[in-house]
Amino acid sequence: MLPERPAPISDRQIRYIAPDDGNADDRTVMAVSLPRVVQPGETIVLSLAWTARVPRTFDRTGTIGDYYFIAQWFPKIGVLEDSGWNCHQFHATTEFFADYGVYDVRIRVPKGWVVGATGTEQSRTDEGATEVHRYVQEDVHDFAWTTSPDFIVRTARFDEPGLPAVDMRLLIQPEHLTQVDRHFAATRSVLRRYGTWFGPYPYGHITIVDPAFQSETGGMEYPTLFTAGTSWLISRHVTLSTPEEVTVHEAGHQFWYGIVGTNEFEHAWMDEGINTFATGRALAEDYPELFADRYYFGGFVPWTFTDVRLQRETDFDRLWDYRRGATEDTMSNLSYRQRQDTVRYFAYDKPAVWLHTLERWLGWPTVQGALRATFEDGAFAHPGPAVFLGHLQRRADRDITRFIDQTYRQSAVFDYSIGDLAVAARHGQKESRVLVRRLGDGVFPVDVLVTFENGDRITERWNGESRWREFTYLRPTAVRSAVVDPQRQLLLDVNFTNNSRTLAPRGAEAARKWTLTWIVWLQNALLTWGIFA
């Protein structure tokens, strides 16, 4: 119910608090004491007036030239949970957390400027030199908007049997007009894949913003709106620099961030990690040919390495970054407490590799089922890690407690290798010995594929517990090669080269080939330096 009369709040009722670290200089959380206690079932209305100066764009908000992207621009109310207020201070290393609500926003901009915002435009009022755009959206936990006279608007519709239709609105920079279809195709990929895997996109509309050059606002998600990012010169192939990857990732956040409102201060992996994992999966499904690329000459001129195909488990799951920071922290540590230089490993990289390992170990139906159940439980709510882990354990056909302990609560390092491969003659037969070793502290059940000279194959199962295990064979033919974890289920393994060994090695041949390639590269360097001779 509304109060009988407005009760102005005096300065004395306002104080700054620092619930995370007690920093007395922190001014990012404000606590307001109300004139009286709000009783159960009562409703209050808070009117908040504030002014803010729009900065030059940094950290994905602000203005540059005639381009405005306005995010994290209004005071947000903390989230009231059963345990009390969950309202963290600002942390430069994390994103945000807010409750769901209804946003009804009026934006006044110069006449003729294009506006994009969370929600849909309800009205546009002509005020002479300016126009007021009214945007409304229900059931979202944030509101962002953008405006520029340079945007070109393109629209398309997502129609997929079994899924609700979605109107897509693309605000694109004029210099990227040739990439309109690529943006829409990538967004369709997400609406179809995520919609099928996790649950349908409920809002019926989505706005894709192509940010202005050097605006630093690309690659960010907001409810029903996200920023992509591309370049003027791009490859005709799909690479990490073309709009597909960033579009899929940010559109994917509509599900894991937008619809499932996880606490980004505390469990960043639940939106970034799950979404990075799902991004890779969607890209692998819809873009079977993805190539590495690199930009030269000040970052303007692209080159696509058509010899180097990107792989889901390494490039999209960010395996290399996971390996860099594998032991720096744990996934279970609250994100805002993690170190600035390592938090991303545990928000994006390790969770993606971890989930992909789970997918390969337990099967996609199990992982998908757990994610779908989390999505259903967590839609327009704030599920924590326990919700997902519970769903996962209930669906798994084996006890995963130890694996979760090692990988989620601890930072166990996994490294299995073929330690030795030897053959000796015995009793007119060949005695082959395969030594498999566990070099890391992490324990995981692994297969060992042994291949013999005559093509015979034996797959051994090893629980991976002890430091080593030897397999011996007395057969007419000798062993030729052995591979531990041949299906590469354990993507968390930090060294894959040592996972196999053969008695017919081609290491010298490979070394020769890559040395010859490298020599030419070095000669190119010398010839380029030759300008000084």
């Binding site: 290399w320 070095l522 001779a533």
Partner: protein, 318 residues
């Protein structure tokens, strides 16, 4: 004699002295071999008996390459996808244009190569200036005789290029480019401005290069001992005969562009194995030879241009 005739005669002279090309090619190989052998050993050691070698031998094994570079020293970390095919040209040219630092092993190889080429330059220029073929002993004797003055010229050259790549580059790309493009929201516009910066920068570098080239030639052809007088004579020549001096230089730049364009088309990738690897390497070495031929063509045509100016062939003095 027109500019084009001077350039053409220079190219013909280079064509008639194939062992000069062989000499420069050997320089590039000799300098490349030690780090290449070290890299070969590192790759072979890392792959060991792993089956990952199969994929690395047959194509690009990105997984292994990442593991290799992650566990390697500075030399090993240079084994990136940039080493494949034409990307190598882009990588190195971009590194030069953007003044990107290089890792120590590559820098050492580069300095070694430059030292070798600087030492051999008097002999090469002398040979290109002479109408008749000389002996290797004569070439080396000329190199030895000019060593001291070429060292002095190399020092001056290093200072000038140091200023260009240090101060001028920073002025153009760190200060001017950044300030001009600070509020630009159209990438195409920023790119055009950067291209403009590259053009300005490399015009200045080319001017310095042209002056140093003619200074070297005048040192050898006129047996000049003074670095300053050679540089002054070089500047005077370019000022007096700009069409001729700049013309032959531009012709050689065009020749270089043609060589690069052809390599862009035929540069071998990394999906080959077995004999195809050697074929790809041979194609790449032909390209290297073509680049070195272009380098010699610069000197050959500049010698011809100078001799045309003097109205005589061969060594003017000495």
């Amino acid at each position: 004699m027109s500019t084009f005739t001077a350039w053409r005669d220079g190219v013909v002279r280079v064509g008639r002295a194939p062992w000069l090309l062989l000499l420069l090619w050997l320089c590039s190989v000799v300098v490349s071999l030690p780090p290449a052998l070290a890299l070969h050993a590192a790759i072979a050691s890392h792959l060991g008996n792993s089956l990952e070698a199969d994929r690395a031998a047959d194509g690009v094994n990105a997984t292994w390459m990442q593991e290799f570079t992650a566990s390697s020293d500075a030399l090993g970390r240079t084994l990136r996808s940039d080493t494949i095919g034409f990307a190598a040209v882009l990588d190195q040219t971009s590194a030069l244009a953007d003044n990107r630092s290089v890792v120590a092993p590559v820098a050492i190889a580069g300095i070694g190569y430059l030292a070798l080429v600087w030492f051999l330059t008097p002999g090469i220029i002398g040979r290109l200036a002479e109408a008749t073929p000389g002996t290797a002993a004569r070439l080396l004797a000329r190199c030895g005789a000019h060593t001291a003055r070429f060292v002095r010229l190399a020092i001056v050259s290093a200072i000038v290029y140091g200023v260009l790549f240090g101060s001028l580059h920073a002025l153009l790309f760190d200060d001017l480019f950044d300030s001009v493009t600070h509020d630009i929201t159209v990438e195409r516009t920023a790119f055009m401005i950067r291209v403009g910066c590259y053009v300005v920068f490399f015009l200045v570098v080319a001017a310095a290069n042209l002056v140093f080239d003619f200074a070297k030639i005048r040192m050898v052809v006129e047996d000049r001992h003074s670095v300053l007088s050679s540089l002054a004579a070089s500047v005077a020549f370019v000022a007096r005969r700009p069409a001729l001096a700049i013309g032959v230089y531009a012709c050689n730049v065009a020749l270089l562009a043609i060589v690069l364009a052809i390599y862009f088309i035929i540069a071998p990738g990394a999906l080959s194995s077995g004999v195809a690897v050697w074929v790809g390497f041979a194609v790449s070495q032909i390209y290297v030879a073509a680049r070195l031929f272009t380098k010699l063509a610069f000197w050959g045509s500049e010698v011809c241009a100078l001799q045309k100016h003097f109205g005589c062939s061969g060594i003017v003095r000495g």
